[in-house]
Symmetry: C2
Amino acid sequence: MMQDLIISRLSSFPMFAGSPVGDLEALAAMLTFKQYPKGSFIISQNDRGSTMYLLVSGRVKVTLASAEGKELALNYLEAPSHFGEMSLVDAEPRSADVVAVTDVEVLALDAKDLSAAIEVQPRLALTLIATLSLRVRELIARVEDMAFHDAAHRVMRVLLNVATASYEARGIPVVEGLTHYEIATLAGTSRETASRVVSQLVRDGLVATKGRRIVVDLFAMRERLEHDV
Amino acid sequence: MMQDLIISRLSSFPMFAGSPVGDLEALAAMLTFKQYPKGSFIISQNDRGSTMYLLVSGRVKVTLASAEGKELALNYLEAPSHFGEMSLVDAEPRSADVVAVTDVEVLALDAKDLSAAIEVQPRLALTLIATLSLRVRELIARVEDMAFHDAAHRVMRVLLNVATASYEARGIPVVEGLTHYEIATLAGTSRETASRVVSQLVRDGLVATKGRRIVVDLFAMRERLEHDV
DNA sequence: CGTCCAGAGTGAACTCCTTCATAGGTGCCT
DNA sequence: AGGCACCTATGAAGGAGTTCACTCTGGACG
């Protein structure tokens, strides 16, 4: 039955793990299970929705699109995480697109149920504050990079971040599943520049490419990012 | 007595206005009143403090400094507002400097008292979420500007934002008290470029300068920002 | 009311990055 | 396997912005 499905998915979120079954049931009643096929827009910039999404499975990207068709990626998210929480509290239009990169399953929570949800699970409020804080920190780091560092530096930082996450998850410091175009959108530069930077890094021995996989020397990369400022 | 002073300052914050006196007293007991002279650092990047500040009077700027001495301003804040709230929840180092632009008075709340404060005043949690959401939106707009728009566009946006705030507060769409250098740090460009843009805007009739004051034609400026993308 | 200095204006050189163009690679799909 | 769509590589030209160098100006303060 649907409620049971929702409850089982809920418990995979750290913030709900270990909650009494009664609480989960109360929460589940407020949530709607939804599926989105690869490539579809879950949220569009300037929408006026007030729904927050818990990402249950799959991968989404949070991106900005310019009037001339340029794209800037803010983030790639994987389950378990959540997005769209800003509209729970203020009534502003959505500030970015969220696109399903793979097929995606989500649980949707509407703003009108937020206070009730927080009463059931106060940790939710702190989780939201913590997530938003993290977003602010990441964005500040991003702005800092755009203002102070050149394109090569930003591309290196993207490679380092992705490879570090991969290393922590699977023990291999590799960048895969990202095209040069996607790396460029994450670094805020052009595809060609990203390509040139990767080529140069191979020549410098900081990364090695195996087909479309980029293996990163985490230590050397960190060293370089710290030193040449 | 100090507690009474704190309580009277507290009530100027919208989030506490109308709270029972008992609640304010409980909150006041957790807060410390502090003063900072013009020019002093209230928060420094990479600090490990876990204090949030309620800005009671004065003006602060939130800025980033690069290794080469370049500066990027994230925000100018005036009372009543607050800053440093991110460190209440995560244990990360401070991600920016906060500098007193005028003499400043603040009330400090330490992280260890946060849960208690939220129990006394649950609206505090929602206020924090709302503030952080606003910050995220502003930062996204910033990143978008840096990625998609040229320096002239960003300078115009700064002028428009400042003049609009001035118009709403005092009925005059004017930029004053900001040097070209400060405008440049807000726009993420060099002093020279900001200066050239202002000169050009005067020639184009979008702004008029009276000594060191810049009077902005809000309508024309908005028009221009929307159109030439 | 003159002096002095932070701030403002502007040309010129140079740098980095985008954009355009074109060739070569990779891997998936039937 | 073959083919096709997408991805990668790299040169060359051009533009936007920084940096440097210098001059001019507003207004604070003695």
